[in-house]
Symmetry: C2
Subunit: 242 residues, 2 copies
């Protein structure tokens, strides 16, 4: 009771939008106290962008950073001949951007509608220098992203097309909030088939074929090409090859 009371007292000093923020206690914001958040809050901007909006062009100068409040952001790499690979998906409350580097190695684009808190480069970098706990959170997120990238390397390098598609559906089910009123394993795919293909290193036709196959086997259910229900989770886990 005591500590809860204390926490509530301190929260009175928070910026208004932090108090109602979905990501208040997760991500890097969770490392900060009320006064630090208040300081961070002075430089902050809030954006809401439509699907497809480019957020960070690849190899562009780093202008600022952002924290994802809701939605899905895809990180992309482009080959000179136009081939594209999606190298990561980021969800709330992930930190977006590349600290301590003058240019980003990947491009970032809103996959769904995305709400962001943006902050200028100078604000973040000075606070990182001042508060080691903030850098610690950034480090932890980088390590987590590294684990995810390596997991996906396993999928890209070793798995068959069917296993890739199943792995992708499981990945989404772990990150996307289930749709309200529905089954807990029912969610909205935030990516087009083309995005999925770029993520899996397949073609849209192959992705479509394997999704259809899973549907026919009653492992998943698909409504209007976007709303997925996992009907038989054990079978899907099996299809993903663990």
């Amino acid at each position: 009771v005591f500590s809860l009371q204390g926490a509530m007292d301190r929260d009175v000093d928070l910026p208004v939008f932090c108090r109602v923020c979905e990501a208040r206690h997760g991500g890097i914001c969770g490392a900060l106290g009320a006064d630090q958040l208040a300081r961070l809050g002075r430089g902050i901007g809030r954006r809401e962008v439509a699907p497809g909006t480019p957020l960070v062009p690849a190899h562009a100068a780093v202008e600022g950073y952002a924290i994802i409040r809701s939605g899905v952001v895809k990180l992309t790499k482009l080959l000179s001949d136009g081939r594209q690979q999606i190298v990561g998906l980021q969800f709330a409350p992930d930190f977006l951007g590349r600290p301590f580097s003058d240019c980003s190695a990947v491009g970032a684009e809103a996959a769904s509608a995305v709400r962001l808190c943006t902050l200028p480069r100078s604000t973040l970098e000075s606070m990182v220098r001042e508060f080691p706990a903030l850098q610690h959170r950034l480090y932890r997120q980088a390590l987590r992203e590294l684990d995810e990238a390596r997991d996906w390397m396993m999928t890209l390098g070793q798995k068959s097309a069917g296993e890739k598609v199943a792995s992708f559906l499981l990945l989404l089910s772990r990150h996307i909030d289930p749709l309200t009123g529905g089954h807990s394993l029912r969610f909205d795919i935030p990516l087009t088939r083309s995005n999925i293909a770029d993520f899996l290193g397949l073609t849209i036709e192959t992705v479509s074929r394997h999704i259809s196959s899973l549907r026919k086997l009653k492992v998943i259910d698909v409504e209007r090409n976007r709303y997925i229900t996992i009907v038989d989770l054990p079978a899907l886990l099996d299809a993903a090859g663990s």
Copy 2:
């Protein structure tokens, strides 16, 4: 002249083996002053292991960390049915291990003969807490590994077998010291064909075929299956698909 003199004075206090260490100024050690290195040095051990030696079993409890002084270490992930993917290669003076986690998500194994400095978990973690510059170096390495992992995801997901093999040779040429007395683009492959195949998501036969093909096209030269000379770098760059 002044600063050089100063640096030499301070270096007198270094642990003996740090003074002659190839990695003294790179990696995380470069962030530390003489007295900090001396303290780190008290807990340190030096190992020299043969190719194939397991260094960190996957999913094992984290016992300690290491710094690579020379050689190549491969990071591996295993699928339940035995398929293996090499998710990263590490070279001197990389830091090896997974801070702030109870178990490593990947296995590590010496690919060539490897010389290491090992340090216990407690030493590193207490020093990280004390010296933010140390954590900063660790963070930078994690970001660099993340960039490399994402580069490789592009290769695994989008490139053809021939492009993968060429990309791999270029990757090695950037990291392996050239053999003494030879052409500057001549080096010793520290991996077997089986390792290369696991890294590229191919079979050993396919790897072998494409290496032979590059040899017949006079793009590279191969002696005794291990010693590679890049004869025509522009052609190799072209074969890698940028």
